[in-house]
């Protein structure tokens, strides 16, 4: 969290509102490509929030006189549009807002890799696109640590709110600015020719890519077709705080949606905080990981022992053969 946001905003945010967190993560297909560098965590003034759940139905052939065509269901997509304002009380805050917008703007561009082409006398540098960016987005109980793509970014300056004009500060103003950025005069005292807006309006479009089963029944709810498929004792799509989930959403024994690797479990734990069930999951994951390692170790030891036995038998056979040859020679 940046300290350059106004203390009032930080105070309000920390006590009442959740920050918007957008964190780039590695391509699930190519985790070796790295996590990416976009890491946005900021208190924003939400001005619009809209979510669209679109079911893909395709109509089949229409025969003459039939009331309806056949409809084929293909899945349900979830998209969201999020608009927020970034106000600035100081030049520092305005700069910080611009910096954060620069971070977010890069989210809709691809990831590029630098490579060097050796063309004899001089090496030529070039870039190649390695794919799009993957994100984890968290925004309170509305977007809860979901995997998503950012499909649109709009940056607007609100001219009616004004900008921080350039002015040479007095000695007293300079002194106060040195004490803390929030005490600086509301003017651009350093950089003529730069526009520092007092308000920026941003719109983000998001396409969700859920990494858990969606629907009713499914492999996590065997024999329970009216229960929600995720089986994690939490609501979908939006969180509902301290009240219990409805019975059809509650966790049942059997398979539950879990992270596949220990790293994923720890990551989920870090996001969701302290919870007995998650602790149970972590411990189960650690136990499973330990059991797997022990199994691997035992297999290795067994293989080593087998190899050693084979080698020692071969050595004994060779020694016996040598002894036989020597004794035959002596005879």
């Amino acid at each position: 969290m940046s300290d350059e946001q106004s203390p009032d905003v930080l105070q309000l945010g920390r006590h009442v509102y959740p920050p918007l967190k957008i964190r780039e993560e590695a391509d699930p297909q190519h985790p070796e490509s790295g996590r990416g560098d976009i890491d946005f965590e900021y208190f924003v003034y939400l001005t619009a929030f809209e979510e669209r759940f679109n079911a893909r139905w395709s109509p089949g052939a229409r025969s003459y006189g039939r009331l309806n065509p056949m409809y084929y269901y293909g899945g349900t997509e979830r998209e969201a549009s999020l608009a927020f304002s970034l106000p600035a009380l100081t030049v520092q805050e305005s700069k910080q807002n611009l910096h954060q917008c620069s971070e977010l703007a890069r989210a809709v561009y691809g990831r590029y890799r630098e490579w060097t082409l050796d063309s004899g006398s001089a090496a030529v540098k070039d870039f190649t696109m390695v794919g799009h960016r993957y994100f984890r987005i968290d925004f309170g109980s509305l977007i809860r640590d979901e995997r998503a793509f950012i499909s649109g970014f709009t940056f607007n300056i609100n001219p009616d709110a004004g900008v921080f004009d350039f002015a040479v500060p007095t000695v007293d103003e300079s002194f106060r600015a040195e004490l803390h950025s929030s005490l600086a005069p509301p003017v651009n005292s350093m950089e003529p020719g730069q526009v520092f807006p007092r308000q920026i309006d941003v719109q983000l479009n998001i396409i969700f890519r859920h990494h858990y089963p969606l629907g009713f029944g499914g492999p996590n709810r065997v024999g329970l077709p009216t229960r929600w498929a995720e089986n994690r004792n939490r609501d979908f799509p939006h969180g509902t705080g301290h009240i219990d989930v409805q019975p059809y959403m509650s966790r049942t024994a059997g398979t539950t949606t879990t992270a596949k690797t220990l790293a994923e479990r720890i990551e989920i734990y870090n996001y969701h905080g302290d919870s007995p069930w998650m602790e149970e999951q972590i411990l189960a994951g650690i136990a499973a990981e330990e059991a797997r390692l022990v199994e691997e170790l035992e297999a290795e030891v067994a293989a080593l022992e087998a190899a050693q036995t084979e080698a020692s038998l071969a050595a004994i056979a060779a020694a016996e053969a040598a002894e036989r040859i020597v004794s035959e020679g002596n005879e």
């Binding site: 619009a48 929030f49 269901y73 309170g140 809860r144 929600w228 939490r234 409805q246 059809y248 969701h272």
Partner: protein, 203 residues
């Protein structure tokens, strides 16, 4: 089988109950249902015939052939929250409505039943042959927070996994539904389309 009613015990619910103003959604594959007070903001019911034309050699006008008629419903309603507890419960109702767009899965995770939804809304969306409403395919649900009306927030932290941070609830929330009616033929009826279809009521 879940059966929820949004805004229960609120003054809005009391009025809706007295007047019978409700919109009810029933997920066909599971039987889950959710009911909202009918705070309808817009409503349209569009019946669109699909024609094909055949042209003859000596005829100026084409021969018109009616192939079928589509019925598309579009309506929006508002969900109102007056307290944190009500907002949480109403969100569970809206969550169930959104979940109805998802199908029934088998034990392998394959789709075995598509998410058909029966919608009932007083005499506006009402079956001509029974009292169960109209079977629909819901193409999309739009969820829009009216932030100008204010929000209800809670800073009480995390309760197990049910939230990953602080809660935000709008005081007013618009839900827009875009659906296509799947016209059912009543096997017991002699007429193809009943005389009272589409059953808006009135004389």
């Amino acid at each position: 089988m879940a059966s929820l009613t949004s805004g229960i015990d609120s003054s809005l619910d009391a009025f809706a109950s007295e007047q019978g103003y409700y919109i009810k959604f029933t997920h066909q594959p599971t039987g889950h249902s959710v009911r909202f007070p009918a705070t309808i903001q817009s409503f349209s019911d569009i019946h669109t015939p699909e024609f094909s034309k055949m042209y003859g050699a000596d005829a100026m006008d084409p021969t018109i052939i009616l192939n079928s008629t589509d019925r598309k419903l579009n309506f929006s309603f508002t969900v109102l929250n007056s307290s944190l507890d009500e907002a949480r419960y109403n969100r569970q109702c809206v969550n169930l409505l959104i979940q109805m767009l998802y199908p029934l899965l088998d034990d392998e995770g394959l789709i075995i039943a598509s998410p058909y939804i029966t919608i009932e809304a007083m005499n506006l969306i009402n079956s001509a042959t029974n009292t169960r409403g109209i079977l629909c395919i819901v193409n999309n649900i739009n969820y829009t927070m009216n932030l100008d009306s204010g929000i209800i927030s809670s800073n009480k932290g995390i309760s197990a996994l049910n939230c990953s941070g602080k809660e935000i609830y709008p005081i007013s929330l618009d839900i827009n539904i875009d659906a296509t009616a799947v016209l059912e033929r009543d096997a017991r009826s002699n007429s193809f389309l009943p005389r009272n279809y589409p059953s808006y009521g009135g004389q």
